[in-house]
């Protein structure tokens, strides 16, 4: 086995799946000759050619819209949107079409496409290059929202996404692209969609995170008896794993990079309140970004949840 970054792991998943299944087509801005602005698709153009690795014009709605047509026709397109902040231009295509095609056609046409996009802050990039607006896309029945937290889960989840019969939004935490290396085997392994994983067992408090925040949570929980849940799929999310842990610990801290109001943490908190309130010893706590626009790099460290904020929330939870 080899230790790989997330960029390498995602690249490996694409290479392997494209070699296995000629229905898999990659399209997006700069994904071909350039190999993507983060080099995630590096080498695909040389190996699979311009028919299967398509450099598109700068047009997010057309990228996702064309991918919908390709998917309905029987291919398995993988559309790259260069940054999550550019996905808003394709919102109508995702919400009004990808998410609804199966329903609208009563199953006659389906939309097995994957939209990959880097998301999240902490990379000192310009405006709209550090967005974490995953909750928008969890409010769309018909689309799965998947967020790997490291190289191993990235490959296994991407293979699962590429084989899913329905559209998947695959959010890649940009800050972790090259920050972490993990053992990532060649060949097939699947990390199933819709399943969370318990990354660290504990009995005192359940800390729930996904994507970019997992790395931070794992650093913050050191001294505490914390159970850490890595959500991996936001929609549909694995409430069973969350509730089992909450029933054991009675305390919950949810850590999200996104702004607090209407973030995905709110959905988790509401679910816990509905299903396991009698197991709680104290309030459900959320660590989140403030309700402000993602700032430019000078202030981004003040925006993103910090180790200290996470630790403080854990200590507060443990007081009950």
């Amino acid at each position: 086995m080899a230790r790989r970054t997330m960029v390498q792991a995602i690249n490996l998943a694409l290479q392997e799946e494209m070699a296995r299944d000629d229905r898999v087509i990659v399209l997006g801005e700069d994904v071909g000759r350039d190999g993507g602005v983060f080099r995630v698709t590096e080498g695909l153009f040389d190996r699979f050619g311009s028919e299967r690795v398509i450099d598109t014009p700068l047009a997010e709605s057309a990228i996702v819209g064309a991918a919908i047509g390709m998917a309905a026709y029987g291919l398995r397109p993988v559309a790259e949107i260069q940054f999550m902040g550019f996905l808003y231009g394709a919102f109508d295509q995702l919400f009004s079409h990808a998410a609804r095609l199966r329903a609208r056609s009563r199953g006659r046409f389906t939309c097995p496409l994957v939209v990959r996009t880097p998301y999240g802050g902490g990379i000192k990039a310009p405006e709209l290059h550090e967005e974490s607006t995953e909750a928008f896309f969890c409010h769309m029945p018909g689309i799965k929202v998947v967020v790997p937290s490291g190289p191993y889960t990235a490959k296994g989840l991407l293979l699962a996404a590429l084989r899913d019969p329905d559209p998947v939004l695959f959010l890649e935490p940009t800050r972790l692209y090259r920050l972490i290396k993990e053992e990532v085997p060649e060949g097939e392994y699947i990390v199933p969609l819709g399943k969370a994983r318990v990354v660290r067992e504990g009995a005192g408090v359940t800390v729930i995170a996904w994507g970019s925040m997992l790395e931070r949570v794992l650093k913050a929980v050191g001294p505490y008896d914390a159970e850490v849940i890595d959500l991996l799929t936001l929609n549909p999310f694995d409430s069973e794993t969350i509730l089992a842990s909450v029933r054991k610990t009675g305390r919950v801290v949810i850590v999200q990079e996104a702004v607090k109001t209407c973030g995905f943490g709110a959905e988790i908190a509401a679910t816990i309140a509905e299903e396991a309130i009698l197991s709680l010893r104290g309030p459900i706590l959320r660590v989140a970004a403030p309700d402000v626009t993602m700032p430019l790099p000078k202030l981004e460290d003040s925006y993103l949840p910090t180790l200290a904020q996470i630790a403080r929330a854990i200590e507060e939870a443990l007081r009950y």
Binding site: A59, M70, Q93, H97, R102, R108
Partner: protein, 351 residues
């Protein structure tokens, strides 16, 4: 530093059958009597379908409905050029296309009565469901055409949309992508001159919609959209070009929306009656009847028979539509995804 002309462009306009039913024989494709009577029957069927839809809506038996009156030649003429294996991406005012392709009439009514099951195309037809978000289907058509070419299938793809859609980003993104990659796609714009209350002059400063294609590197042609033969010929040629690797074509069918935008609209609020009256004289069915009157098979009896047959078909479809058992609550869940999420399954059980 010269100040010179960089490029000049021209746009074609095709018209074969005039308002008096006179055809330009040099442009008219050779049609036999069966083909002519079939086209006429389909246009009459579309007209009667539409008239019935309006009366059903007034009786509360259909929901909001967008009439097609006046656009029968644009719809039947273009759809008659399609092959069964072609893919079609409609907007929401293409009932004449659905009927020409042989879509079950009762299912069309079923959809407009508010039952989504009417949108499931029969397996033999590659026609997408109605697209309510204006222009989005243009990009889907380009993607399907890219897929067809990748698969080396002898298939062409058609996207239908209206004049309003040419203002949308997806129109420009889709046509730009098509111009670059040149997949086998044909864009058919029914310029019915009104997007609800906004006339085409309120959508664009372009002299024609057809000329917009020039900017994307392929041909745009304007045809008389109330002229069955011009629409058919332009579509047939564009499809042949697409299938033989010649890339996309944009066809602007200049027609007129004779009725309201939908049954929820009142066009009298915003357009002059003289304009509507002038276009009534250019009715595509009337024009075809004048042409057919010189054919040996034409007679008043034939005309009455065609109407009678169409009426019987529509009557039967309405009876069939209203005999369909209403959808169960489970239908709301079934096709959201290939399988229900645990939460959806719980919600279904709790209903």
């Amino acid at each position: 530093m010269p100040d010179e002309v960089l490029a000049t462009f021209t746009t074609r306009r095709l018209s074969i059958l005039d308002e008096n039913g006179q055809a330009d024989e040099s442009l008219l494709l050779p049609y036999d009597d069966d083909e002519l009577s079939r086209a006429y029957e389909l246009m009459v069927l579309a007209r009667i379908f539409d008239e019935r839809a309006l009366s059903l809506q007034r009786e509360g038996r259909l929901g909001t409905y967008p009439p097609i009156r006046g656009q029968e030649a644009a719809q039947v003429g273009s759809a008659l050029a399609l092959s069964p294996e072609d893919w079609v991406f409609p907007a929401f005012r293409e009932m004449g296309v659905f009927l020409t392709l042989g879509y079950p009439i009762s299912q069309l009514y079923q959809y407009w009565a508010g039952d989504e099951r009417g949108q499931r195309a029969p397996d033999r037809l590659n026609i997408f469901p109605v697209c309510v978000s204006v222009g989005a289907q243009i990009t889907h058509a380009v993607g399907a055409a890219m897929a067809a070419r990748y698969r080396k299938d002898p298939v062409a793809v058609v996207a239908y949309f209206g004049d309003g859609a040419t203002s949308k980003g997806d129109f420009h993104e889709g046509l730009n992508l098509a111009g670059l990659l040149r997949p086998p796609v044909v864009f058919i714009c029914q310029n019915n001159q009104w997007a609800i209350s906004i006339p085409v002059a309120g959508q664009t400063a372009s002299g024609s919609l057809a000329q917009k294609a020039i900017a994307y590197g392929f041909e745009g042609i304007q045809v008389d959209g109330n002229d069955l033969f011009a629409v058919h010929r332009a579509t047939k040629e564009a499809l042949e070009k697409a299938r033989s690797g010649g890339g996309p074509t944009f066809i602007e069918c200049l027609t007129y929306r004779m009725a309201d935008h939908t049954t929820a609209d009142d066009a009298a609020r915003y357009r002059p009656p003289e304009e509507v009256a002038a276009w009534a004289g250019r009715d595509p069915i009337l024009r075809l009847e004048r042409f057919l009157a010189t054919r040996s098979f034409w007679s008043e009896t034939f005309r009455a028979d065609v109407r009678a047959r169409a009426t019987v078909a529509i009557d039967g479809a309405v009876v069939a539509m209203e005999a369909i058992t209403p959808p169960s609550v489970a239908e709301m869940f079934t096709h959201t995804a290939a399988s229900l999420t645990p939460r959806q399954a719980g919600q279904l059980e709790g209903h």
